[in-house]
Amino acid sequence: MSKRILLMLMALVLVVTLATGCGGGENKQLANEGGAKVLRHNHGEEPESIDPALSTTVDGGSIVIACFEGLTSLDENDLPVAGVAESWDVNENKTLYTFHLRKDAKWSDGQPVTANDFDYAWNRALHPDTAAEYAYQLFYIKNAPEYNEGATNSKALGIKVVDEYTLEVELSAPTPYFLTLTTFPTLFPVRQDIVETNSKQWALNPETYIGNGPFKLVEWQSKDHMKFVPNEFYWDRNRVKLDAVVKTFIAEASTMLAGYEAGELDVIDSVPLNEIDNLKQNDEFQMITQLGTYYYCFNVTRPPFDNPKVRKAFALAIDREDITNKVRKSGVPATAFVAPGVPDTAAGKDFREVGGEYFPIKAQPQEAQRLLAEAGYPDGQGLPNVTFIFNSNEEHQIIAEAALEMWKQNLGIENITINNQEFAVFINTRQNGDFQIARHGWLGDYNDPMTFLDLFTTDNGNNDAQWSSKDFDELIDKARLATDEGDRMAALHEAEKIIMEEVIMIPIFHDTENTMIKPYVKGLVKSLLGFTYYDKADIVK
């Protein structure tokens, strides 16, 4: 009896395993499609949504950018260029933008792209029922925050369709970087008929995922990959050289690297930290700078960090060069908060170049100790116990351990500990201000110093430092209302100077995306915001 059961069981196992099979011989097809130019880019974890209004991740954003196009688009230098809008007029106070749409822009089903599509998409992204996380990217539009709160109706919004190919946008304040905002996925057009007929499902199915961008989605195997081919109706079809893009959803860095080394992938966007030293020997390894700053945030209301001198002492005890070169093995040492790459539009230079360095790259132990003594804690005596918190993660852990050593050695203190918490618990603790010093990071939402600096205004939800300064708030307001770029930049530099001199945080490094790109991949563009642009990419073997 037992033997029969056993045999039956085994037979069942065998039959089910073999009969159901999986996928179906796709591997070979993906690896080599008869000489066609197929770019295989590992995307990372499957995006939460590829609906332009609901997409929140950089990876998901790259998919939206492949399949949709905004009024403007970014060039290789991160500057806005014509997209669906072929030209635009801006009034003198930069509050009224009139976009003139090109007449040959088409959706992937051949329908023309009109101003109504933008009007619908923006209304939808702002509508309370859509509950879009990135709705705030549209808050520059007149009455948009009120509409998002449900306090006013859509008629009050500063969006006006003049005619099919003319869109007028009224902003609540002068926003010189509005043209870079229109390159952001949340502001991309969507088709009312498609979205309304298919409700929440439209962005889950390649057939209804109709876009107006250079590519269209043709295949989506959930949690494994997506495949894109050129959109034949794209107005600049000739720009697109690839025959297909396959985006795979491998989340584990070591697995991506294995796939890359085995020749199954052409581009990967992250590599295991402990492999970086080896990979640096290879030309295929590239550190691509991003608009981000990794920093340690003080709670300026909690002792001992209510004393600016203690804060400065802690900041000077950190060796940024060692952390970037020896510990994280990547990144750019941060000497201030605003990341390099952000333009100072008045000077025509990098904002960082004009603003200069506020913190030295190397640690300054003597100066740090002197400040600590001045604050009343000579050699750390009498310093209250300090706990540094961060979220559980290998990278944060090793950086925290290095920082801990630097504080102990360079300040001569012992009563400092590090403590890690699970991500959501950590964020909760940090947002509640229940900490002394915590890991923090900021990735810009658009390419302007404002995306960094307005973080520390008194009411900002991300001002975890619990810091408040009337002067600072006024400078940010001044920059918001300025119609002259010279005045605006001056105010922003002044604002940065205040937070740096007050040392409400310790800038540590600016983020880089550590990528591997096969040498035959040409023209792949990665923007400062981390988005990947495939429209000019090519494979030249």
Binding site: M1, E46, A131, D224, T248, F249, A258, T429
Partner: protein
């Protein structure tokens, strides 16, 4: 004849009433699992929309309204139970527009295929290895099998997975390094997943066989002059299987619902990952959905194992 039919139906009836009783208690078990999970999940700080970049308050309010997260907790609970009774596990908070039912329907078959392939290895490698060791006790076959089994138990599956991926996938290029593409994709993950269990099954089979082989009835069978094959497979193995089935039952539920580690390493779009990832994401509906699913499967497998016992061992009677 009549008495035989009576007995037969008596057994059938007893079994049926036993099964009904078990199903009723299972429902209570599952309800308790749901309730405890629901409470625990809402006790931990942070929510599904906790972000590194804090969301503006108005935006957060809209999102909470959309997912009914602004309702009082008891209302969220009763709503969930009502939907659950209808088989509706609700929408995922993380994957926009995707329901938990869809997530399970898409990912469970993949994990189950991988699990069955691993089960296949466990039974076809583990069982024979154990039997051979027992029959050739203290001979080289025994030493070899048991040394391998010790290694199998001791080496963690992620080490096996990484080594396989590096050697077979990258260096030799015989198999795809990762993902779920064709039958070839099943090989490495199923070996990595089965390693520990196979080794354990081999050791369990060996000790169980050794114990049974020393029983009086085996001596009797041999004394009767039965061929060794019949003694081993018909008389010994049948009884030796009981502890193995006891072990495999709950393992089966676990292995069919996928392994977080193996699925992560091989980028397999299975269910296993959701058990862990959903907690980090505070994707409440997914946490509850996969927990209910797993609990149901576990309860079902245990029931099946209990029923199987009475076929294997006539001494075991259900419902008494």
């Amino acid at each position: 004849m009549v008495s035989f039919i009576k007995t037969f139906y008596g057994v059938q009836f007893r079994m049926l009433s036993y099964i009904i009783k078990r199903l009723a208690t299972s429902l209570v078990t599952i309800w308790m699992v749901v309730t405890i999970t629901f409470l625990l999940m809402h006790t931990i700080p942070g929510g599904p929309f906790t972000r590194e970049k804090a969301l503006p308050l108005a935006v957060l309010k809209n999102i909470e309204a959309r997912y009914n997260l602004n309702d009082p907790l008891w209302k969220q609970y009763t709503d969930y139970i009502q939907n659950l009774a209808r088989g509706d596990l609700g929408p995922s908070f993380k994957y926009q527009g995707v329901t938990v039912n869809q997530i399970i329907a898409e990912s469970f078959p993949i994990s189950a295929q991988l699990g069955l392939a691993s089960l296949f290895i466990m039974l076809f490698v583990g069982l024979p290895a154990g039997i051979i060791s027992a029959l050739r006790q203290t001979k080289w076959q025994d030493h070899l099998a048991m040394t391998l089994a010790t290694v199998g138990v001791a080496v963690p599956n992620f080490v096996v997975a990484t080594l396989l991926m590096y050697i077979v996938g990258v260096k030799l290029g015989w198999l795809p390094t990762a993902r779920w593409l064709s039958w070839q994709s099943v090989i490495m993950p199923s070996i990595a997943l089965a390693g520990y269990y196979t080794a354990y099954v081999a050791r369990l089979t060996r000790s169980s066989m050794l114990e049974v082989l020393q029983q009086d009835y085996i001596r009797t069978a041999r004394a009767k002059g039965l061929p060794e094959r019949v003694v081993v497979y018909k008389h010994a193995l049948k009884n030796a299987l009981i502890p193995i089935i006891t072990y495999l039952g709950p393992i089966l539920a676990g292995i069919l619902t996928g392994s977080f580690v193996i699925e992560k390493i091989f980028a397999i779009p299975g269910l296993g990952e959701h058990f862990v990832a959903s907690i980090g994401n505070r994707d409440y509906t997914v946490i509850l959905g996969v927990t209910v699913f797993y609990a149901t499967l576990l309860v079902a497998v245990n029931l099946i194992v209990d029923i199987l016992y009475c076929f294997i061992d006539p001494r075991i009677r259900l419902g008494k």
